[in-house]
Point group: C2
Chain length 190, copies 2
């Protein structure tokens, strides 16, 4: 499986140039997880868009960072997005009640595109039944919900199972981002 390399045929010198990645936002997202993930993906060459329940709208993280949503899930085609990131905090609890965002995540999962979820992010994966029989990590408070949903919970920095990539907490975000970059670096036209 190719890693983060510069020799796999990209025309840019960045590993995932041209890839469009959606980060989901709602009130009370985890500020640090959002920023660390966004910065890592932009550094790797990705075009990052924020998707919220309304757009353009400001959403405040639980520590006060204000992020503007670029577009809504309803305005977004699965075809235009290569991967989705779900930061943690209490935003995933709120996104669970945003039907268009839930449907969007389900469609991305079913399209086989990578979905990366951090800390409480797997709550949304439970909502779209994407953890069943999959190896999953998460913030420990929701481990029981992951298990009850049929997930195979593991207390690891990052867990990759098919197109589902999960991490426990902010400290794990660099490793999660590397795994997502790796997943997106695999040629999809074979």
């Amino acid at each position: 499986m190719p890693g983060w390399r510069h020799d796999i045929g990209n025309h840019s010198d960045k590993p995932i140039s041209g890839k469009r990645i959606a980060i989901l936002v709602e009130a009370l997202f985890d500020d640090d997880e959002f920023m660390a993930c966004k910065n890592g993906l932009v550094t790797a060459g990705a075009d990052v868009v924020t998707i919220g329940p309304t757009a353009p709208s400001p959403f405040s993280g639980r520590n006060g960072l204000v992020v503007l949503s670029d577009q809504t899930a309803r305005q977004t085609s699965v075809k235009e997005i290569d991967a989705v990131v779900i930061p943690g905090g209490f935003a995933p609890d709120k996104i669970r009640m945003r039907h268009a965002m839930v449907d969007f995540v389900r469609d991305i999962v079913e399209a086989g595109k990578p979905v990366a979820a951090i800390s409480h992010g797997p709550q949304l994966l439970i909502s779209v039944n994407a953890v069943r029989d999959r190896k999953i990590t998460c913030w420990p408070s929701i481990a029981i919900d992951v298990k009850n949903a049929g997930g195979l919970y593991m207390d690891r920095q990052v867990v990759v199972d098919g197109n589902i990539i999960t991490a426990r907490k902010i400290d794990d975000v660099p490793a999660l981002t590397a795994s997502l970059v790796q997943a997106l670096s695999v040629p999809t036209d074979i």
Copy 2:
């Protein structure tokens, strides 16, 4: 089943005088649910104590109300408590990781004493496996977790199933409090 009556043998003119009820607190509890529940129970004659992960310690609700914990779960005997209330907000997510508080709720449930949980409070009931095969209501974002835990989710104001009493949200707290008072008014020495 006797209701909230003044003729069931209490020596006081309040329906649950002498009953000692523990309300669980942690950071980000729902301020309104805490206050409405506490006020309703005190009005009904209860002696309310707050139980937190440390005590005496201040805990801030998600809207800024500061509550002081009276004692810890470790300092509390199941025998001295007649019922437990779990307000919602994001506190239940945090309490799930406080082992002594989780064990205390499990012990109260197993002792057959009433446990009343509001909105996100049933997350803690999931942690102690108290929703399986029981009728439960909750905040809609966690309905899927309740179902995955074997609970029979119902979208009702208040649901009473044995000693487990649940409500969806702040608007339902008066009805929840009335159900808890009723449960505590049933003579336990028969």
